[in-house]
Amino acid sequence: MERIYADRKYIIIGFFLLIGLLYLVRLFYVQILVDKYILSANNNVLRYVTQYPARGLVFDRTGKLLVYNEAAYDLMVVPRQVKNPDTMALCHLIGIDKAEFINRLERARAFSPYRPSIFEAQITRDSYGFLEEKLFLFPGFYVQPRTLRKYTYPVAAHAFGYIGEAGPDVIEKNPYYRSGDYIGINGIEKSYEETLRGKKGMKIRVFDVLNRDKGSFRDGKYDTTSVAGTDLYSSLDAELQEYGELLMTNKKGSIVAIEPQTGEILCVVTSPSYDPNLLAGNIRKKNYTKLLQDTVFVPLFNRALMAMYPPGSTFKLVDALVGQQEGVLFPETSYGCPGGFPLGNGKKVGCHPHPSPLDLIGAIQISCNSYFCRVFKSIIDKKSYLSTRQAYESWRKEVMSFGFGKKLGIDIPGELNGNIPTPTYYDKYHGKNRWRSMTIISLAIGQGEIGITPMQLANQAALISNRGWYYTPHIIRAIGRKDSLNKAYSTKNRVLVDQKYFDVVIEGMANVITNGTGKIAKIDSITMGGKTGTAQNPHGKNHSIFIAFAPVQNTKIAISVVVENAGYGAAWAAPIASLMIEKYLNRVVKRKDLEESMTSGNLINGKQPESERGKGNILPD
């Protein structure tokens, strides 16, 4: 009876083997055929911890530290690991109430129960010291160090720029950046980003299921070390910059100073400005919005690079140089001035009273409008040109070789082209070939459509003192080592005016200071060349402009000063430029009265104190 069923052992053994085989096939599939499990396994346990290098420091030309890093601490939380914390104690430590504590914990949990989120960003150094001791009482919380940009001097905010978290557009374009990384957003932080940031490193850590660090992966075999950012040596003179910002208190405008022999920017003041520390760290967003909404001072606007002014009489120097180069002007060329330059339609370009006639030096010295209108007219109407247009194009090319009407290519982002109008522009405005030298005569005295930035103005002063060439202005003189010069700025740019034509212009500029429109700027111990300017402003009071260089021989500093709504160039810009030159060359300013009246002048809120300076010193230009 029973024997019949003995064969069933084969069925049973067969069934067992079938299941065994099925499992073997499944194992083969899971362990060998598919990759997703090993990838998930790595995701489970490996964390790629970025090693952030210290960002490069910035020093000034005298070796003073300008920009450095300070450790800041973020309090992080891993919600899953939080266990019965002494809520009140922690709340007290970071200064929040219990509702806020619960709220933040919930937000972190919503992000991920296992991954760390920031619980409190950049806790103060004091609470960090205290927290570090007590942190073992609060499982799930830990402190992550970060670096914060700090500025020794609260100046040059626009030049330094700031750093912030890289946005999604950056991350998409540049694979170096990951969410949460910092990147330079403006100023040299942006233009030297790749130098300053260094190279991130990567540590691979092994984590367990509760997100506890279990040490490095394969003894750190696959880790990469970070490379610290490279230090920058700025050409800025911190004290000069600070002094310039002091002088520009309550004024709109800018001061740019350049060392002509190198093109190094000594100071780049834009006013109103702000303390760069306001845009560092977690206070940045709040402060940025505040600065952005300030429509009276507009502190985020970098006037030194982004404001365009008609250069006024400072442009007469260009007329003088181009006129000589074109062969229509000679030092001894003399024109009379009947109180203005008649335009032929009953109107005239007015001029202030002065001795007449004048030669070139005299015309520069007292800034005669008529003289330079004639020079300009003789350039455009020169017989060798076939048309006004051709003459204008030639003029424009020579003018643009001064660095006008185009970006200079400095190492601070955001500079404007300025504007030297194209012939096409006049065609559109007046009709094709319906414009003549008299139509555009206001260019002769730097008015009209012409627009030049303060940086370009300073560069103009520099290239005149160099007698016809300039290095592109730059604010970083050396990278990495103090004596290794910035190679990007080692090409001389030559102006399309021969060197020999500069001497007479320089002599005229020296006379401006000794006995001309700019004599208010005179410093007994320092020789100086300068030129006043007044930019007509259809919206309000004219802008006061002054460019200068000193000493006349072996020049150390070339400068441009623009003070908005301040009247004649001699009223505000010239004395400020003079004080800056004294400060830079002598390191101390002796003219305390002048300094005081410049510093205290408030040109923004309406009040315009009459300075104690004799009225006779402020000559029209």
Binding site: M1, E2, I4, Y5, A6, R8, K9, I12, I13, F16, L17, I19, G20, L22, Y23, L24, R26, L27, F28, V30, Q31, I32, V34, K36, Y37, I38, S40, A41, N42, N44, V45, V206, F207, D208, V209, L210, K214
Partner: protein
């Protein structure tokens, strides 16, 4: 008497060797699963591998104890042992300790003892005893009912302890009944019904019913077309249709929520990898990341850092899969297959019906644990928390499986003396 030649005479050393290999592999991987740098001494009694070492030594002593007991003791006292453990199963419901939702544990000293593990052994003894009785034939309805009752009574009591996994294990004994001569339809139903049930949850029911109708049609076409055949085919068809239409009700009303989730996970309908699907997903990740050669002893990251839950008990196979790879896993499968086949071949050489059915009972229980446990870690079977015999951490299961096996080894060594 051949007993004079010592208690180790005629012992089947192959099966003992397989047993020792599995126990050793188990301990090694428990060590790996709970290993950490601070507790790395192999006899640290605060750690699971230290405790397992004690369990193993105790299991060896139990095994030797069984080898010196008169083999007739087990067949003679089968009913008594069965009754005793039924009693314990009932008592533990009222006075037991609750572990992980099931009230099946006695606290003895510092250890928990689970009578359900030993009840399997008692049930196998009782079933073998009953089927071994000369006048029992499963062709008779009465014998079938008694045999089924012997299996189902402890199963139901264990179910009352909320230990569904252990309760299901008793159903494995249908293999013994099959070998004893019940119709092949019953074990077939045990395989077909779960498959049909799963299909009913995945495939639209009307399509499935249509498919069944087609199959019934094929059977009808090839049958002798007598009334009896038509009746059987119709009833099986109607029964199947009723089954697939009631499966939703069964899943939604009878099963507990966590069991329902496990079925959804198995069917790929639950992709919540942080919830119900977490175990199986992490288990597959651990095993899958082992690749061919494995990560090496103590090098498994998924198991060492606790991504796999229950890794020293129910999910111990993950540690093996991760650290020893496909090679090690395959070796383990082969060891188990060898054990099962060896036990069945030994059972077939028994002259006593009691010993033979006992051997089948042993093989069924071991195989069922193996199939469910490894199937679960491979995502082929719903998560049912039962241990991998001899390998998983735990005293009760190791001792129970050791006793279960060594009673059989003892019977086998005695087989020529029974006439």
């Amino acid at each position: 008497m051949r007993e004079e030649k010592g208690i180790f005479y005629r012992i089947d050393w192959l099966v003992v060797g397989l047993y020792l290999a599995l126990v050793f592999i188990g301990w090694l991987n428990i060590y790996a699963a709970v290993y950490n740098e601070t507790h790395n001494h192999i006899v640290d009694l605060t750690q699971k591998y230290g405790k397992q070492m004690i369990f193993i030594i105790a299991a060896m002593l139990l095994a030797m104890g069984i080898l010196i007991i008169d083999p007739k003791f087990f067949s003679q006292f089968a009913w008594f042992i069965y009754g005793f453990f039924l009693f314990l199963l009932v008592v533990v419901i009222f006075s037991g300790r609750e572990v992980a939702g099931s009230k099946g544990w006695f606290a003895i000293g510092g250890f928990g003892v689970q009578p359900a593990e030993f009840a399997k052994m008692a049930t196998v003894l009782a079933l073998a005893k009953y089927l071994g009785t000369l006048d029992v034939s499963l062709a008779r309805f009465r014998s079938l009912v008694i045999a089924s009752a012997i299996i189902l009574v402890p199963a139901v009591i264990v179910l009352l302890q909320h230990d569904t996994g252990s309760a299901i294990v008793f159903l494995a004994l249908v293999i013994v009944l099959y070998r004893a001569g019940i119709t092949g339809f019953i074990p077939l139903a045990f395989i077909v019904l779960p498959v049909l049930g799963i299909l009913a949850l995945v495939v639209p029911k009307l399509i499935l019913a249509g498919l069944l109708l087609a199959i019934a049609g094929v059977f009808y076409f090839f049958s002798n077309r007598k009334l009896r055949s038509i009746m059987i085919i119709s009833m099986v068809f109607l029964g199947s249709v009723a089954f697939i239409f009631s499966i939703d009700f069964a899943v939604n009303k009878i099963l507990e929520p966590h069991q329902r989730n496990r079925i959804h996970v198995l069917l790929g309908q639950d992709v919540d990898l942080k919830g119900a699907g977490y175990n199986v997903n992490q288990s597959l990740i651990a095993i899958g990341s082992g690749r061919f050669f494995g990560k090496g002893f103590l090098q498994g990251t998924q198991t060492k850092y606790n991504f796999v839950p229950e890794q020293s008990t129910d999910f111990i196979f993950c540690t093996i899969g991760e650290e020893w790879g496909f090679l090690g896993s395959a070796v383990l499968l082969i060891l188990y297959m060898s054990l099962f086949i060896r036990v069945i071949l030994m059972a077939e050489r028994q002259r006593s019906r009691f010993s033979r059915f006992y051997g089948y009972g042993l093989a069924s229980i071991l195989f069922f644990h193996f199939a469910i446990n490894i199937g679960m870690t491979l995502g082929l079977v719903p998560v049912i928390g039962i241990p991998l015999p001899y390998v998983s951490y735990g005293g009760s299961s190791l001792w129970a499986f050791t006793i279960l096996l060594f009673i059989f080894i003892r019977q086998d060594s005695y087989r020529y003396d029974l006439v």
